[in-house]
Symmetry: C2
Subunit: 155 residues, 2 copies
DNA sequence: TTATCTGCAAATAATTTGCAGTCTT
DNA sequence: AAGACTGCAAATTATTTGCAGATAA
């Protein structure tokens, strides 16, 4: 996992403080969990990972923390069709780590890809612009995900 | 709401029977609810609408029916970020009614658009092809949604 | 006839919330 | 000190499931 600029502790702490919020052991543990344990973690998975460094942490705190980070734009919350939210560090369009997801509907494996990102980003940008004009929306985000069967499950 | 070929009762019934399943009053009521009450209904909304014609219907039946129709490809199930699934008749890419969603994160209004559908569809098709080759996925669906604030909520 | 379908009530499972005490700043 | 943050337990909410009876084919 490459270490993107958004993901290092110093930057995250600055951001949190910038919003007038506090740095706590629980929040550190969540940040660590998110950067150490790869992408697209469920709240439960973040909880398990964070518990290792900080055994007293509670699941409710995980939820509150992830919600907060999501609100700050540090984290993306998304859903892949099972009924658990998933979380990962956010990389805005254009950032090195920006990617979309390819989801296996059978084994729930999630593949990050960024092979067509430039083309996609460009079209999405134009679409956003067009939609904003026509419908008067102020668009903040989009979700693009592909669903199918991975090689193993397709057999 | 235009009446697409996929949405008329005769075609739906044929499809259901084609899968070896039965036509029942409950299923009729769900079909009616979906075509009469517009798009992107929650299970609860389908339930209310269907209850009007068929008061004895139960919510569990709504869920089971919608799941079945989704499995048959007659209905799309999707999610707009609140934690309720939403359902609408499916129009495959290329069909007249094919569209994507623009969601207001404040008032939860959902706008259907198909302004850039051709371009989008074309890029998505190419992307699917590329991803299928590179990652060995057999891709079945995609989700593309834009999130932002509608005109009223942006004030 | 017979497998599918149903409503109901109870069970799940993810997420949220109230609260009293504990920290960060 | 003051407000932000916490863990815990209880509450919520959407969805699922078991079951015995009803019904479409």
């Amino acid at each position: 996992m490459p270490q993107h600029k958004n993901h290092n502790p110093a930057c995250c702490c600055r951001k949190i403080r910038g919003f007038g919020r506090r740095i706590t052991p629980a929040r550190h543990a969540v940040l660590d969990a998110l950067s150490a344990r790869g992408e697209h973690l469920t709240a439960e998975e973040v909880f398990k990972a964070a518990s290792r460094h900080y055994p007293d942490i509670g699941l409710a705190t995980i939820y509150r923390t992830l919600e907060l980070f999501t609100k700050f734009g540090m984290v993306n919350k998304f859903d892949t069709g099972d009924d658990k939210a998933r979380y990962e560090f956010a990389d805005g369009p254009g950032a090195k780590g920006h990617h979309h997801h390819l989801v296996c509907t059978s084994c729930r494996r999630i593949v990050d890809y960024n092979d067509f990102i430039n083309e996609e980003t460009e079209l999405l940008r134009r679409t956003e612009e067009g939609l904003a004009n026509k419908y008067g929306f102020k668009i903040n985000t989009h979700i693009l995900q592909f669903y199918g069967l991975c090689k193993d499950c397709a057999k």
